[in-house]
Symmetry: C2
Subunit: 297 residues, 2 copies
């Protein structure tokens, strides 16, 4: 099957890299408004041809929208207006409520599968595309009952070929949970970079004293503002709630520090340590059951 990638960057490009190794896809058509990215995508063989959107829609069986979430909301409608019932459209955006809302009542809604492959790096553009990015990561499909079953199967197959574990959620639930688990950590990282840049006069000190700890905590602060601005905007309600909670936690640390409450600080850190168990996959059974149930419904 022929594929069109609308926006050939880190995510779209990395998908192509791994899918090229399978027999699942044929020709890859790239659509990108950025001439530098277009040229690079052609040069590196990520795409076979750079074409205009209408040409891509005339030639591709599977269309992947991998552009910032605000633009995706407009482009998805253009695409649904111009495809037929055999073609399949999916997106990779980090917020799902907005795009699911705009397509909700479209006559071609069934051809669209709302996806979120949870993977990435702090880099962007076609040069950032890497092999194996999605291996063992989670691929979330939202509002799956609104998609035609043949379209759903194709996107599920693509996710499986990329090595992802499939998960299904309601779009609004997705946005809430991803605000807490992913979007907040981007803000915490951007704010950490700004703090250190403001407070530490010497750039050389930052470079010298940044052990691997600071580097990993601040890594996401290198992420693309063009990509993250609309994500934060789409998800501002849940993100504000997460930020409130985060600021509360920081205030607790500050208060305990100020009043030399050593045991309270120790207790906070011991509680925080529990994240290791969860990230190691040792989640509590009752939680597992809740999710299995959600999946089944």
């Amino acid at each position: 099957m022929n594929m069109a990638v609308i926006g050939i960057g880190l995510i779209g490009g990395s998908m192509v890299k791994d899918l090229r190794k399978t027999n699942y896809i044929g020709k890859v058509f790239g659509v990108d408004l950025n001439p530098v990215h277009s040229k690079e995508a052609l040069r590196s063989g990520l795409v076979d041809e750079i074409v205009a959107l209408d040409v891509a829609l005339a030639k591709a069986d599977l269309i992947i929208i991998s552009i910032p979430v605000d633009s995706a909301k407009h482009v998805v409608l253009d695409i649904l207006e111009n495809i037929d019932k055999t073609q399949i459209v999916t997106d990779v955006g980090s917020t799902k409520g907005g795009i699911c809302e705009v397509v909700k009542n479209h006559k071609m809604r069934g051809r669209f599968v709302a996806g979120h492959p949870i993977a990435g790096t702090e880099n962007s553009g076609p040069e950032a595309a890497i092999e194996g990015l999605f291996q063992n990561k989670t691929g979330i499909i939202c509002n799956k009952n609104e998609s035609d079953s043949d379209a759903l199967i194709v996107v599920e197959n693509v996710y499986k070929l990329l090595g992802m574990n499939l998960n299904y959620m309601d779009a609004d639930e997705h946005d809430k949970h991803i605000a807490y688990v992913s979007h907040l950590s981007h803000i915490s990282s951007f704010a950490l970079a700004l703090t250190v840049l403001n407070i530490e006069e010497s750039e050389k000190n930052i470079f010298d004293m940044a052990g691997s700890g600071f580097s990993s905590t601040v890594r996401l602060a290198k992420s693309s503002p063009d990509m993250w601005k609309p994500i934060f905007q789409h998800n501002s309600a849940y993100l504000e709630r997460a930020l409130d909670e985060y600021i509360d936690q920081l205030h607790d640390f500050k208060t305990f520090l100020k009043h030399n409450k050593q045991e309270d600080i120790h207790m906070l850190m011991t509680k925080a340590n529990d994240i290791r168990r969860i990230l190691d996959g040792k989640v509590k059974e009752e939680n597992k059951n809740t999710i299995e149930h959600e999946k089944a419904t």
Copy 2:
């Protein structure tokens, strides 16, 4: 030269691993109050013998204190009381003001070299010791003029053998800068873990939705509370200042989100992106000069 390691954990153990590969050290004596750590350090060959402190002091030429900074402040005095003018003591603590203060007027002050090899992982104990931990990292020596020159040379050689780049600072300056660049990022990470643990009901969601982004931002939240409690206590004044600035930055994000100030959020992220340049080592020249000057004085 024979070596004693007081506290055989991540840092002391990793030092031994790499120094064993050189001809620079002979026998390694371990002192550790934790019987499980002692046994593991012997079993894995990190140390040749587990001994009491007085035995270690009788046999070792170089004594490395690698225990939490509050205990180190006491142990260093015990050690200085019981060594002779040929022996050398150094520490690896992440705060330097406290330990430099307690030894300041000691008649054996010259035998002590206040060190901070800026390296680590989120793990602790002798099993966490790894090879190459210090390669290309910064090793800071504080208040070097208070150390005897022969003692200083030995510790400098050890740092160089471990692959570190040497840097020199005043102890109080060290504590200020390390609060901003390292200690704050530990608090930001602990608080992030607590936020997600509090706000996200489903542990399975955390596991599934934690892309590599969240994992790297929250990694330091797995760190040892026993090690970090006294560091935060020693450095609370600078850390409070850093936390204030950090909370201010987060409030800016929150306010801009609330009032849909998209361009302001974009501007904050673009400023934060500058951390990439600095971590890549492309520091501005005027800053470089400032530091070279500090080094020379």
